[in-house]
Symmetry: C2
Subunit: 449 residues, 2 copies
C-alpha cells in the first residue's frame, strides 16, 4: 500500500449528523488506511506488528481493532530515548514538522510530540471554543500555554475567530484576579483545582467572582469537573452555569469536549476510535462499565498511535445517541472519573481519589483543599484524609470539630466503603499551587518503607 | 483631521536601502499623521497636549519631535488603573483587539498592551528571525512565551517561515539541555544570564554545549550581550560566533535587532522615531553620548506612544550609515548598555552594573554568577562585589585566593573608578534562576535603613 494517507476532509460539527452506520464505515476506511500507513513508515509499529505475527491485511474494518497491539506512554518514552528526538514512530521528515509540543510535567522525561500542518488542522477542528467567543470578547487562559496542546489550540482557535485570547499564565493569582476584574472575560479556563484556588484567593482579598460577568468556565487537565460537588462549588463561586470540559492528550489530539446539553464528553469519531478496557485483562468493557480509555488515531500523519492506553478511567454513555444533540459517536459519561495510576489499592478495595474529593467538597464547612495520605505497612495500611476548615470555621469548638470529623468520616464511608482517619486542618495548612498546573493529591508513603 | 492612519505598506528590509533624506521625510509624514490620530482618539494624549498648550498643527515634521511631551511607564500604569482595562490611551474598540500582551514581571502591576491585526503585522515585520531558520531546522525558546512580545513574534515568525519552534520554557534546565542534545536546534534564544546558566549546568552534567551544532544564539531582555566579556563566554561556551541581540518593548513594538555585520542594534526607522536624551534634563544628546533611549511609535493604531522613555541606557552609533549594510537609520552602538533604574549612585559616582559584569567575567577563575551589594549609610555607603569561583578553583589556597581577590579589585577599579570590597564565594552559593527570566544583580540595602 502507498505510504500516504488520503486527503480527508475536516468534518467538524458535521459528525453530529452521522448515523452509527456511517460512523462505522468511516472509521473502518480510516483505520485500514492508518494501519497500512504506520506499517509502511514506522519501524516502531512494524516491530510491534511482527511480534504479534500481524499483517496490515489482517485489519479489514473497525471490528478488527482488538487485533492491534496496545501502546503505552512508557513504550513511547523508551522509543524516544533510543531514537531521539521523536522516536521510531514518527512518520514524516523534520521539514514537515509544524508544531512541537510536550506532555505536562516540568522535570523528568516529558514525551515529545510533533504535528504537521495537516495534523494541527485536525487538532484545531476538535477544539470547541472557537465558536464560543466573538470579536470584542475575552477568553482568558489561567495556566501556561507553552507547548501544551489544549492551551495552544485554544490560543489559535480564539485568535482565528476574532476573540481576544489573554494568556495569564505568567501572572500570580492576585494579578490574575485583578485582570479578570478589569478585562471581564466571557470565558476563563484552567484546571478545576486552580479555578477553586482563584475562588479562595478572591475571597481573601474581598473580590466576588460571581459578579465578574463570566459566562463560561473551561476546565482542563483534571477529572475535577466530573465530581458533582466540585462542579457545584465552581458554579456557585463563579456564578456560572456552563462548564466546558476539554479532553485530549498531547500524544494523540484534543479529542473532544462537553456538549452544551449534557455532562458527557463527546469524542470526535472522525479523528479517533475509542475503546474502554479492563486495565488488567485488556478486554473490552460494555458501555456503562468503568475502565481505561484507549484511543486510536484515525487521522494524523506525524506520530499516529494505535490503541494508546490513556490511563484515564471512564465509562461510555449507555444511550446509543446523545439525547441533547443526537451525536451517535462515543461519549464519556460524566467526563473522566480519575487516573488509573492514582487509584489507591487499600486493604483489597480500589479507592478513587475523585470519590474522596466528592465527600470532602460536599461539606460546606470545609474549604477546597484536601490531601489523601496512605501509610503504615503494606498488609495493614492506614488511609488518612486531611481536609481544611473554612476560615470562618477556624475557631470551631472541640465538640463541633468532632461532629464535623464524624460527618466527613460517614460521608467517606458511604462513598468509598472504607474507614478513613480524618485530620481537620486550619485553613492555609496544605500547600497551594499558584502556577495553575495539575494537582496530585495522593501521598502514598507505602512504597518508601 | 481624520481619526485614522494611512494604510502604510510594510517595508521590512527595504528600509536598509533608504537614504537619510528619505527616512526623514517618511518619518515626518508618519509623525504628523500619528499626532493627529492620538489627539483625535486618546483622552490621555489630548490631556497631555493641553497641559503644554500644544496643538496637533504645531507638529509639522520630525524636527518638531522635541515639542511633544514625554511619557513614562508609571504614567501608563496609573492611566490603566484609572481607566481599565487598557487605559485612556487606547485608540481602537475591543472588537479590533487581536493580541494581548503584558510586560515582564509576574507580580505587581504589569502593563497591559493590545495589538490590532495591523499592529501585529508591523511587530512581525521588525522581527529578524523568520528568515533565519528553514523548514527542517529548529529554533528553541528557552524562556516563557505567554504574553511576552519577543517570544510571541518569534513563535509566529518561525512557524510562518516553516521552521520548527520549540517552546521549552516549562522544562527545567536539565530537561532543556537534554532537548538541545536531541533536537539539535539551529538557534536557541534566552536572556544572557540564562544562556550562561545553561553552560553551568551542562558542565555539571558533562555535556559540551559547543558540540551541539548550534549556529546562532538569540539574546533578549538583558543588556548582557553588550558586555564583551559576557559575549566572549557565550561564544566560547556554545562554540557559536553569531549572537543576535533582539530589542524592543511590549509597550511599543519589537524595535529591531543586530545586523549580521555589526554589534549595533538597528532600530526600524519606519515604525519608530529614536532619540537619546539626558535622563535628568530631557535634552537630546549627540551620537556617541550615553543617555536614555526614547521612542515614538510612527505606526500602530491600538496604543501608540509618543516619546516613551524606555529606561534603557544607550548611545547612538556615530557613523552616518552602518558600515556593514548601509542602513542610514538609528543604530544603538554596541547594544543596550544598562538600565537607568539599575544605575548605582555611589559616593558621587555613577556605577553601571554592566561594567562590574565585565570585570568579573574577564577573570577565567570566576564562574558566571555575581551580585552587587550596596549597604552602609547614605553618606558613606559600601560597595561589595560577590563573585563565585569556578568549581575547579574551589580549593584555592589562602594566598592564591588573596591574589585573585586583588586582581578582581584592580579590574573593578579600572572599570568603575571605585574601590569595591570583594567577597569570593564557593560555586553554587548565589541563587540561580532556572525559569529563564531577567536577572537583577544589584542588592541595594541603603533604602531600607
Amino acid at each position: 500500500m502507498a505510504a500516504t494517507l488520503p486527503d480527508y476532509p475536516i468534518l467538524g460539527r458535521a459528525i453530529d449528523g452521522l448515523s452509527a452506520n456511517e460512523i462505522g464505515s468511516l472509521q473502518s476506511r480510516r483505520l485500514v488506511a492508518m494501519v497500512n500507513y504506520v506499517h509502511a513508515l514506522a519501524p516502531f509499529w512494524r516491530r510491534k506488528f511482527d511480534e504479534l505475527g500481524l499483517e496490515p491485511g489482517d485489519i479489514r474494518d473497525i471490528g478488527d481493532l482488538g487485533k492491534l497491539p496496545f501502546c503505552t506512554k512508557k513504550e513511547l518514552q523508551e522509543d524516544q530515548a533510543e531514537n531521539p528526538p521523536m522516536g521510531s514512530y514518527v512518520c514524516t521528515p523534520p521539514a514537515e514538522w509544524h508544531r512541537f509540543l510536550t506532555t505536562t510535567g516540568t522535570t523528568g522525561v516529558p514525551l515529545r510530540r510533533v504535528y504537521s500542518k495537516r495534523d494541527y488542522a485536525f487538532a484545531m477542528q476538535r477544539f470547541e471554543a472557537p465558536d464560543s467567543v466573538k470579536p470584542g470578547e475575552v477568553y482568558m487562559l489561567l495556566g501556561p500555554v507553552d507547548g501544551l496542546i489544549g492551551p495552544t489550540t485554544t490560543f489559535d482557535g480564539v485568535s482565528q475567530n476574532g476573540g481576544l485570547i489573554v494568556p495569564a499564565g505568567r501572572l500570580d493569582t492576585r494579578a490574575k484576579i485583578k485582570l479578570i476584574e478589569d478585562m471581564r472575560p466571557a470565558v476563563i479556563s484552567g484546571t478545576a483545582s486552580y479555578l477553586l484556588r482563584i475562588l479562595e484567593v478572591a475571597d481573601e482579598i474581598g473580590v466576588d467572582m460571581s459578579r465578574q460577568g463570566i459566562r463560561r468556565l473551561g476546565s482542563v487537565g483534571e477529572p475535577g469537573v466530573a465530581v458533582a460537588e466540585t462542579r457545584n462549588r465552581l458554579r456557585a463561586g463563579f456564578g456560572v452555569d456552563a462548564i466546558t470540559d476539554g479532553y485530549g492528550m498531547t500524544e494523540l489530539f484534543p479529542l473532544g469536549g462537553g456538549c452544551k446539553g449534557s455532562g458527557d464528553i463527546h469524542i470526535g469519531c472522525d479523528v479517533a476510535a475509542t475503546e474502554i478496557i479492563d486495565p488488567n485483562s485488556g478486554e473490552p468493557l460494555a458501555a456503562g462499565e468503568l475502565g481505561e480509555a484507549v484511543f486510536t488515531n484515525l487521522v494524523g500523519d506525524t506520530q499516529p498511535l494505535l490503541r494508546y492506553r490513556s490511563g484515564d478511567l471512564c465509562r461510555l454513555a449507555t444511550e446509543p445517541a446523545c439525547p441533547a444533540c443526537g451525536y451517535a459517536g462515543p461519549r464519556l459519561a460524566g467526563s473522566v472519573q480519575g487516573r488509573a495510576d492514582e487509584t489507591i489499592f487499600y486493604r483489597g478495595v480500589k479507592v478513587f481519589p475523585t470519590a474522596i474529593e466528592g465527600a470532602v467538597r460536599a461539606l460546606p464547612e470545609l474549604n477546597h483543599e484536601y490531601q489523601i495520605l496512605v501509610d503504615g505497612d503494606g498488609v495493614l495500611p492506614n488511609l488518612t484524609v486531611r481536609a481544611e476548615t473554612l476560615e470562618s470555621a477556624k475557631t470551631l469548638g472541640a465538640e463541633a470539630a468532632e461532629a464535623l470529623k464524624k460527618r466527613l468520616a460517614d460521608g467517606l464511608k458511604a462513598a468509598i466503603r472504607v474507614n478513613a482517619a480524618i485530620e481537620l486542618l486550619a485553613p492555609g495548612t496544605l500547600p497551594r499551587d499558584d502556577a495553575g498546573g495539575k494537582v496530585r493529591r495522593v501521598v502514598d508513603k507505602r512504597n518508601r518503607q
